[in-house]
Structure formats: C-alpha cells, structure tokens
Symmetry: C2
Subunit: 111 residues, 2 copies
DNA sequence: AATATATTCAACTATTTAGTTGAATGTAAA
DNA sequence: TTTACATTCAACTAAATAGTTGAATATATT
C-alpha cells in the first residue's frame, strides 16, 4: 500500500480546483452525480470524468441504487500524502505546530 | 496568497515521483542542479525541467553562484495544502490524531 | 586564448488531460 | 408501453506534460 503511483494519483487528483470542490461538497455528505455536477458551468460529462479520476484515486466511492449513483468522500488516501510530508521532515519541524494552531483556531471559531 | 492556482501548482508539482525525490534530496540540504540530477536515469535536461516546475510552485529556490545554481527546499507552499485538508474537515476529525501518532512513532524511532 | 563545465534554450515527439457533442444504456414514472 | 431521467460510452479536439537531442550561454580552468 501507498506505492509511488498511488501517491501520484492522490496528489494529481487533488491538483484541480473542480475536483477539490467536488470533494468539499462530498465531505458534507453523499450526493448523486447530477447533484454534484449542478454548481459547475461545465457539462455533466466533464464532471462525470472528474468523478472517475477521484474514484481511481480512491478519494470517492460510488454506491449504485437503481439509476442513481451515490458518491461519498473517502479520506484514507490522504494518509499517504500526510506521511510523505512527514518524511520530508523539514516541513514538519516547526510547521506541524502551525497546523495544529490553525486547527485550534477553526475549532474556536465554531460554536 | 494561496489562490486556487497556487494550490494547483503545489499539488501538481508534488504529483510526480521524480519531483518528490528531488525535494527529499533537497530537504537534507542545498545541492547544485547536476548533483540533484545524478541519481536519475533521465537526461539532465529532463531534471532541469522538473526543477523549473518545483521552482514555479515555490517549493524550490535557486541561488546562483557563478555558473553553479544552488537549489534549496522551501516548504512554505505546503501550508496551503495542509490548510485545504484541514478545511475538508472529515479528514482531520479522527485522522489528525493518527498523523500525530505517526510523527511520534518516527521521533521515537530516532535516537 | 583555448578548453571544459554548468546550465539553459529551442525544437520536436509522444502521451495525457480537460473539455466538447451525440449516442447508448438502464431504470423509473405516466 | 411510452416517455423521462441518470448516467456512461465513444469519438473527437485543444492544450499541457514529460521526455528526447542538439545548440547556445556563461563561467571556470589550463
């Protein structure tokens, strides 16, 4: 698990604003393909392809119910990305603190 | 700062094993282009292009001294990536813990 | 001054990617 | 059973990417 290619696919999948927006949408719950596509100005087919990319990267899972395909966010592949960052040590030395602070700030901002 | 395009460039730059290897090499200190290129089986020119990609993503900085170009790792752009992950909350709920554990394990493994 | 070294530039090719449109498939509703 | 809906498949185009080779530029070394 976490072969270089897996990491490639994970990071490449994230390196697109449409796909990140899709994930953000899904991070607040399941949705069907059409629902996911609605906010975007591109064709449904284009979004369908983006979803395929996310699926290949295992960042999205598909549950078929009749003609509807329900999509959900699977965060697991990000572990490998985080691990890579952790191994490239310079980043985390003194930077994990900043990240934790940032998370604390976000928590504090929520009621 | 941290426009979507910046994130795109950061993540796209990381989504290549050659470039990640270059960064890992640089994370243990400055090196010249030729030195960085040596371990790879591709041409010097190809590596030079990878370096350019990393430079555009601000993950690598170049210091010119005569004909030598010294390259160094700049981890700052990863902040935006970490922030994006933090915002896609599901990941961090219950997963930041795992990451911290992982870091602690790595620390423990070092003398 | 001549030569060697470090690096980029330029031109080219092959592959991948993001998008399009139109047709096909399968399921649900009238 | 006809029609509408959800989704993908197929074929295509335009642009980006990763690699190549060969020439150019600039700096060191002899």
């Amino acid at each position: 698990m976490a072969t270089p290619q897996t990491l490639d696919r994970t990071l490449a999948a994230l390196a697109d604003p449409t796909r990140r927006a899709i994930l953000q949408r899904l991070s607040s719950g399941e949705a069907r393909v059409t629902e996911v596509a609605r906010p975007f100005s591109m064709s449904l087919n284009a979004v369908s392809k983006h979803i395929l990319v996310l699926e290949r990267a295992k960042l999205v899972r598909r549950r078929r119910v009749g003609r509807d395909h329900f999509l959900s966010y699977r965060p697991e592949p990000l572990d490998a990305a985080a691990k890579w960052m952790a191994e490239t040590r310079n980043f985390w030395a003194g930077r994990l603190d900043a990240l934790e602070q940032l998370l604390r700030d976000e928590d504090a901002a929520k009621p």
